[in-house]
């Protein structure tokens, strides 16, 4: 589950792994560096329903809180419970063990607004 290959990226610095109608969500290495040490993650409930763009999780670093947004209209089918005890996994392995949740999309997934790895790298560099 590790590595950036084949991932899609949002402007909010989330990565998405799209497999059929399932979407795994995490935040990028760039985002975890900006946020700093994550000390607490407010996770969604299983089966909780979200509309694309809703905040479904909150990452608390020492100094700030950041929302994580639902990538699709859908329900949460998996939650990374490990983050409850080890929120720092988002810092140490953002693309792997630091995944946050898996959504099941309600309809077709529109990837037109998403970036691939190369486009995201450029986007992040410009924001730096």
């Amino acid at each position: 589950m590790t590595g950036e290959k084949g991932l899609k990226f949002t402007k909010e610095h989330e990565w998405l792994r799209i497999e059929g109608n399932r979407v795994t969500v995490g935040i990028t290495d760039f985002a975890q560096k900006k946020l700093g040490d994550i000390v607490y993650v407010e996770l969604p409930e299983l089966d909780e329903e979200f509309v694309e763009g809703d905040a479904f999780a909150v990452l608390e670093s020492v100094k700030t809180a950041a929302d994580v947004y639902a990538p699709v209209d859908g329900i949460v089918v998996e939650v990374n419970d490990l983050l409850e005890e080890e929120p720092a996994l988002i810092n140490t392995d953002p693309f792997g063990e630091g995944w946050i949740a898996v959504f099941e999309a309600e309809g077709d997934i529109d990837t037109s607004g998403l970036m691939d790895t190369a486009a995201y790298r450029q986007y992040a560099e410009e924001e730096e």
């Binding site: 700093g36 040490d37 000390v39 607490y40 407010e42 020492v62 100094k63």
Partner: protein, 368 residues
């Protein structure tokens, strides 16, 4: 970031991987390696901070002492040469203009060290109330200021000076002291709850001073530390931050800092009557330390509720406190809710998380 003021150390921060943020108009490092790592370094070894953004104002002249006595809440007449005192400047209604350190060079010469974001406001306040026989000078632009904090601070700094640093007691200073050949004022003060020093030097020398301290400190585990660590350290140690625990709207008495407000001193300082009346009448709100019972992180501005669900106050500072491994907050609450052991609830976004009033400070270092 380009329109912000920079300290002489700006490039050093960039070189050290500092993540720069806007802090009251200054480009300052929020963190380098990471806030948790930096806090740990200061608690167990040492950290180096650039605090050159702080304001420095000198007060001189034959009336310096008697005038300062009317401006400051603390008993400045008890201050000896080479001693430092913490005090407030208050408004007539008792709210705080700023909190500051006063250094006494001599009967006719004092140095005030004020908050960066308040420097201009303080300068205006002081010049507006100035009397004949007092000369004020804002020397902030000429001064660099570094803080070396942590149990190894003295050992590290001692490598750079022949001056016996152990002779400088808590809240005392020596000047000039040559640090790496640079003439400096060195005080045993700080904003972290650890032993350590604050070093004032000519702005032009501060880069070299920074590099020398880094060079000596690194092998002993010293890390450069940013504002994030600084705020976390001061918060854990129960030290107030202007604009949070004290402000124009929050008196020092409500913030439980009455120790630095000498209502019995002779001088009729600005705010005295209002603060005396407030104390006489009883304080309607008080600062309380809260420890979260449930998981979450409280932040400044979050509302605080009592058991009946009534809003009784708000969080002034809140954070995960790494040294005690707990989420804690300072909150300004109705006085009858401030007793230790009281259960209160903090509104963290859509949730209300239970917290218990705990003794302040959250962290106190063990005596040597």
């Amino acid at each position: 970031m380009d329109n912000l003021m920079r300290t002489p150390l700006f490039q050093e921060h960039i070189n050290a991987g500092g993540q720069m943020v806007d802090f009251g108009g200054w480009a300052m490092p929020l963190k380098y390696s990471g806030i948790l790592e930096e806090v740990e370094a200061v608690r167990s070894r040492a950290g180096l901070f650039d605090v050159s953004h702080m304001g420095e104002i000198t007060v001189a002249g034959p009336q310096a002492l008697s005038w300062l006595d009317t401006i400051l809440t603390n008993d400045i007449r008890k201050l000896a040469d080479n001693q430092v005192m913490y005090a407030f400047m208050c408004y007539p209604h008792g709210g705080v203009v700023d909190d500051l350190l006063v250094y006494r060079h001599g009967l006719q010469k004092f140095l005030l060290v004020v908050n960066a974001a308040n420097t201009q406001k303080d300068w205006d306040w002081l010049t507006q109330h100035k009397v004949p026989g007092v000369v004020l000078e804002n020397i902030s632009p000429d001064m660099g200021q570094l803080a070396v904090q942590g149990p190894l601070a003295e050992e590290i700094l001692q490598k750079l000076t022949p001056y016996k640093l152990e002779d400088i007691g808590f809240f005392r200073f020596a000047s000039p002291v040559e640090i790496a050949g640079i003439p400096a004022l060195v005080s045993r003060t700080g904003y972290t709850g650890e032993d350590g020093f604050e070093i004032y030097c000519p702005a032009a020398d501060s880069v070299r001073l920074w590099q020398e301290i880094m060079r000596e400190g690194k092998p002993l585990g010293l890390l450069p530390c940013g504002l994030g660590a600084r705020d976390t350290l001061r918060f854990e140690a129960g030290l107030p931050l202007y604009g949070h625990e004290i402000s124009q709207e929050i008196t020092p008495l409500e913030a439980r800092l009455g120790l630095f407000v000498k209502l019995k001193k002779q001088a009729d300082f600005i705010g005295k009557a209002a603060l005396a009346a407030l104390k006489e009448k009883g304080l309607p709100r008080l600062l309380a330390g809260l420890t979260l019972v449930e998981k979450g992180v409280p932040r400044a501005g979050y509302p605080v509720y009592n058991g009946e669900g009534q809003e009784v106050g708000y969080v002034t500072s809140g954070s995960f406190a790494p040294t005690i491994n707990a989420s804690v907050a300072n909150a300004l609450v109705a006085a009858d809710c401030a007793q230790e052991g009281t259960n209160l609830w903090i509104g963290v976004r859509q949730r209300r998380l239970q917290a218990r009033v705990t003794k302040l400070p959250f962290y106190k270092r063990e005596a040597k």
